[in-house]
């Protein structure tokens, strides 16, 4: 091979390298990281909307919904049985299996220690809340969800109402989303869940082995005008309130206005849609 040709090919090789980290990717990545106004877009929605989605974060109409939740931790202290009630409600509504072994465990909503839920809030001498009581944790339906960014098949996506939801038909079980979720809110079907569903709800499917699952904000109930099962299980305690964060008149917005609330690990820029009154 003559010298000139060699030089040409060197250049060609280098420009390919440049092309690999190309601008398209950069654009893509950057567009996902804007701290957006509370809107229900970004990430990738359904692919029918693919052409629009590029700049969706900035351009989404303010009328778009973003569902969220406000959880009053004090109510859970007043009624220690409430935690069990809400997780049971979710288990029943969604045919969540209960395995004898912890290793196989699948959970959508559960009670955990204050310091587990909010590891960045340090205390020297714990007050009662942080010492003894537990807080419910569930998927935060992040406005800038890392799980959606990581999923290689769009099996996890954000729908038009701002709910981060899964298409179990499409999930290949790579578990990238589980590594990506900074809240540990995702579970995997390590084995066939069918035999471990105690009370079957015939209005909702189960899952098969080899797919990931998590809280879906009861998209199937909201879609027909009902409240999420866990919120309903709270009765009129007001321990959990669900609503549209983008609607200034909604009850959640009222609560956010009247109370000091915190989110889980806000420093990560995921913009969780679940707020806690502590």
């Amino acid at each position: 091979m003559d010298k000139k040709r060699r030089d040409f090919l060197k250049v060609a090789g280098i420009s390919t390298l440049a092309g690999l980290g190309g601008t398209a990717v950069v654009d893509r990545l950057v567009s996902g990281t804007h701290p957006s106004v509370a809107n229900a877009s970004g990430g990738h929605g359904e692919e029918h909307a693919a052409p629009k989605e590029e700049h969706a974060v900035q351009e989404a109409p303010k009328t778009g919904k973003r569902y969220g939740m406000v959880i009053d931790v004090k109510k859970f202290q007043e009624d220690p049985a409430l935690g069990e009630r809400i997780s049971r409600a979710c288990i029943q509504a969604h045919n969540i299996p209960e395995f004898p072994e912890k290793k196989d465990e699948i959970k959508w909503i559960w009670m955990t220690g204050y310091e587990n839920a909010f590891p960045e809030k340090s205390t020297l001498y714990k007050d009662e809340t942080t010492e003894e009581h537990q807080v419910p944790v569930l998927c935060n339906h992040c406005d800038n969800p890392p799980c959606v960014r990581a999923c290689p098949t769009k099996a996890t996506f954000k729908n038009k109402d701002g709910i981060v939801i899964m298409d179990f038909h499409r999930c290949i079980g790579c578990r990238f989303c589980m590594a990506a979720c900074p809240y540990g809110m995702r579970s995997f079907n390590w084995r066939n869940p069918r035999d471990f569903i105690t009370e079957v709800n015939r209005d909702f499917p189960s899952r098969m082995r080899g797919v990931v699952e998590k809280c879906n904000f009861c998209a199937e109930r909201i879609g027909v005008g009902q409240k999420p099962a866990c919120v309903e299980a709270c009765g009129d305690t007001g321990a959990m309130v669900f609503g549209d964060l983008n609607d200034p008149e909604s009850e959640v917005r009222k609560l956010l206005k009247e109370n000091y609330t915190i989110q889980r690990r806000p420093s990560l820029g995921t913009h969780p849609s679940v707020f806690y009154i502590v």
């Binding site: 290793k103 290949i172 900074p182 995997f188």
Partner: protein, 390 residues
């Protein structure tokens, strides 16, 4: 050219049968896993990636390591590597095939694997990883094959092939960079969330990959009458030394940042990996022996490949030195890096991971399958070499 793989002495066949035995066991174990689900492994919702993905990560590095022969030969015209670049290319092929097997073994729904292509998702690093891995595999297969065929016919390789050879160089870097990006772009996993991960991956890859090639060259010298040449081996050892130093330097930086900044998220995992992490009165330390093994093997291997006595005068010591470096970096990246990243969990709990027997056999079987393919490819390459010489 495949007929070259069909003629061999008894040792050749015994070696293949030995590997085939483990492949067979792995097939049975995989079928069990396929029908039961990944519950047959030691993974759980807290440690959701285990041996499969960690082996995958390490082997991507081995595949990328081959470029340390291709680059000096084709870009710097370093002639001594002429005879052994094919070893690097074929090593890359078998390492990549192992990677793909590990990915398939790890998928919960392997039959839906093609969804990654049916619903391409450019914001997922896994999508890009698949693109570059396949790209690098095809490039190596193409270049290796065309150049070997030309060599057999004793003609110069066609000119167009150099285009692909040059492209394969940035691809080699990209496969390991993108694999690092699988980890270092995830918020909330502090151990992985470090910009040094990609360079560190490359450094350990450029030590581990060539180390394996040196071992292979030393073995081939004894069993297949194939001499890579003293100069080539010596140069490779130099590359290994510098790459290994770079890797340890990067590891040291991680330690500094973790412990000097004293930010819990930044040192917890290092603490867990090297010293054991105390949590609610219990010390979790199941990876500590592996990480000290990493350090000790590094020191041993580094001494053996640096000391002129053991490096230049004795093939056995040199081989042991390279094997120590290879094993050391395997412990670092193929065990510690991936498994450590899951401790502590996002909910500040600690779950330790212990692989199951079924999982171990699948892992061993995939390694065996990789070496099976590697043996056959090397057999072909050396067969051609001998034919040309004859």
């Amino acid at each position: 050219m495949f007929e070259k793989a069909l003629k061999g002495n008894n040792y050749y066949w015994m070696w293949l049968a030995f590997l085939g035995f483990f492949v067979g066991i792995a097939v049975i174990c995989y079928l069990r896993q396929y029908f039961y689900g990944l519950g047959l492994t030691g993974m759980s919702r807290d440690v959701s990636w285990g041996l499969y993905i960690s082996q995958f990560t390490f082997l991507v590095g081995v595949a990328a390591g081959g470029v340390m022969l291709v680059l000096p030969y084709y870009i710097h015209n370093y002639k001594a590597f002429g005879k052994i670049t094919i070893l690097g290319e074929f090593l890359a092929i078998s390492a990549l095939l192992m990677c793909l097997m590990f990915i398939m073994a790890d998928l919960g729904q392997p039959l839906r694997g093609l969804n990654v292509l049916l619903h391409p998702t450019p914001n997922s690093m896994l999508f890009w990883d698949m693109c570059v891995l396949w790209g690098y595999l095809l490039l190596n297969a193409l270049c290796g094959w065309v150049i070997l065929t030309a060599e057999r016919k004793q003609v110069a390789p066609p000119k167009w092939i150099y285009f692909f050879v040059y492209i394969s160089i940035p691809f080699a870097f990209s496969i390991h960079t993108v694999t690092a990006m699988l980890y270092c772009g995830l918020p909330g996993r502090h151990f992985w969330l470090s910009a040094i991960i990609a360079p560190r991956f490359l450094a350990s890859a450029f030590a581990a990959g060539p180390a394996l090639i040196v071992i292979m060259a030393l073995i081939l010298k004894r069993v297949a009458n194939f001499d890579a040449g003293k100069q080539a081996i010596d140069k490779m050892v130099t590359i290994i030394i510098y790459a290994a130093i770079a890797n340890m330097f990067f590891v040291g930086l991680e330690f500094f940042v973790g412990y000097y900044s004293n930010i819990p998220g930044h040192y917890h995992t290092l603490q867990y990996l090297f010293f054991g992490l105390e949590h609610h009165g219990h010390v979790y330390n199941n990876l500590v022996p592996f990480m000290w093994g990493f350090l000790i093997l590094f020191v041993i291997g580094f001494f053996l490949i640096c000391n002129p006595q053991t490096r230049r005068n004795n093939d056995l010591w040199l081989g042991i030195g390279c094997a120590s470096i290879f094993l050391s970096f395997w412990l670092d990246k193929g065990i510690g890096f991936v498994l450590g990243g899951f401790v502590p969990t996002p909910l500040e709990e600690i779950t330790e991971y212990y692989p199951t027997a079924n999982e171990l056999f699948i892992t061993i079987g995939i390694w065996a399958a990789g070496f099976f393919i590697l043996t056959i490819l090397y057999k072909i390459a050396i067969g051609v070499e001998h034919e040309v010489e004859a």
